[in-house]
């Protein structure tokens, strides 16, 4: 095993996974051996401030929430794309910066449409 190119990455991966999975497996084995499962009807009931919860939580929400979430998602992903753009900002030729500009303007256009339709304003 000459020093394989990706050796440190693999070791790091296994170490990380071990740290993550390890305690969970340990706890699972511990629970299996020592503390038995004691679930019952009252324990699994929905917790609502000590009362028996009535009504259903799966209801139709106002559409405004859904649109708000989608717009947030779009700009969240856009921020991820902007990261490499910001890192390599120095050595850009004209063509590349125009491409980036088109990408940005498309999304800003979307934002302008949303504001103009006052989707984001909340009564």
């Amino acid at each position: 095993m000459t020093n394989h190119l990706y050796l440190p990455v693999i070791v790091l991966l296994i170490g990380g996974a071990g740290f993550a999975i390890g305690p969970i497996v340990l706890a699972w084995i511990w629970a299996k051996k020592f503390s038995p499962q004691k679930s019952g009807p009252s324990k699994n009931a929905i917790y609502e401030c000590g009362l028996e919860s009535t009504g259903d939580a799966w209801i139709k929400f106002k559409t405004g929430y859904y649109i708000y979430a989608i717009i947030f998602l779009v700009f969240d992903v856009e921020a991820v794309f902007l990261l490499p753009f910001a890192v390599a900002f120095g050595g850009f030729t004209a063509a590349e910066s125009i491409d980036m500009l088109v990408f940005l303007l498309l999304l800003v256009g979307g934002l302008v449409w949303a504001c103009q339709k006052n989707v984001l304003s909340w009564t």
């Binding site: 503390s35 004691k38 019952g40 009252s42 324990k43 917790y47 009362l51 028996e52």
Partner: protein
């Protein structure tokens, strides 16, 4: 692994513990109480968590609002009959291992409001209580003393063997019946499994008034 060897090793910086001690040490130093104040004792409980009495020194300042993440229920205040089903349901919904501190005279036995028609005469009629703190309201130091007592109890719990604690014992119940609201009183008025009335030698014939033999 006798004590003398252990303390010898301890002096040289080598800690020798058994799995059980490690398990109990870990659990006793991070008892998370349920955010559950009822009456005046709750104010003293809040004062105990504030800067002056500082419950954080004992690892218990994290007050979790939801029973799923709490492992200690401090019944701080008067448990009324309208509140009793909620207290028992919250106790059932807490994850094992769970403990109960009955704080204040009202939670122990109804306290000054014993003759009230809407007052439950003590929460140990429905759920098992681990530590009782007398007082009305007990001082914050008394609550900290209760925590120390609870930590000592957790420390002495055995992992295996016949008298292992309830959460390690499959056939001991972890849920208790939730009382219903009846026409005049809670139905059932107490939980016979939990509330065992010691023999009260009241002679019905009423020979000796004071109730003693």
């Amino acid at each position: 692994m006798d004590e003398q060897l252990k303390s010898e090793l301890g002096r040289q910086g080598v800690v020798a513990t058994s799995l059980q001690e490690l398990y109990n040490w870990g659990r006793k130093c991070s008892v998370w109480p349920l955010n559950f104040g009822l009456a005046c004792c709750a104010i003293e409980m809040i004062a105990a968590t504030m800067a002056r009495y500082d419950l954080a020194r004992f690892g218990a300042e994290v007050f979790r609002p939801s029973p799923r993440q709490a492992d200690l229920m401090i019944v701080a205040g008067t448990v009324t009959k309208k509140m009793a089903p909620q207290v028992v349901r919250l106790y059932n919904q807490m994850a094992e291992p769970k403990y109960v501190i009955s704080m204040g005279a009202c939670a122990i036995s109804g306290g000054p409001f014993k003759q009230g028609y809407n007052v439950l005469k003590g929460i140990d009629r429905y759920i098992p209580v681990d530590v009782y703190i007398p007082g009305c309201p007990p001082r914050p130091e008394a609550l900290i003393d209760a925590f120390l007592l609870l930590q000592k109890m957790i420390d002495e719990q055995r992992l295996t063997g016949p008298n292992r604690p309830r959460h390690l014992n499959a056939d001991l119940p972890s849920e208790f019946i939730v009382p219903e609201f009846g026409a005049h009183d809670l139905v059932p008025p107490q939980n016979p499994e939990v509330w065992k009335v010691p023999l009260v030698n009241i002679s019905i014939a009423g020979k000796n008034e004071s109730g003693r033999d």
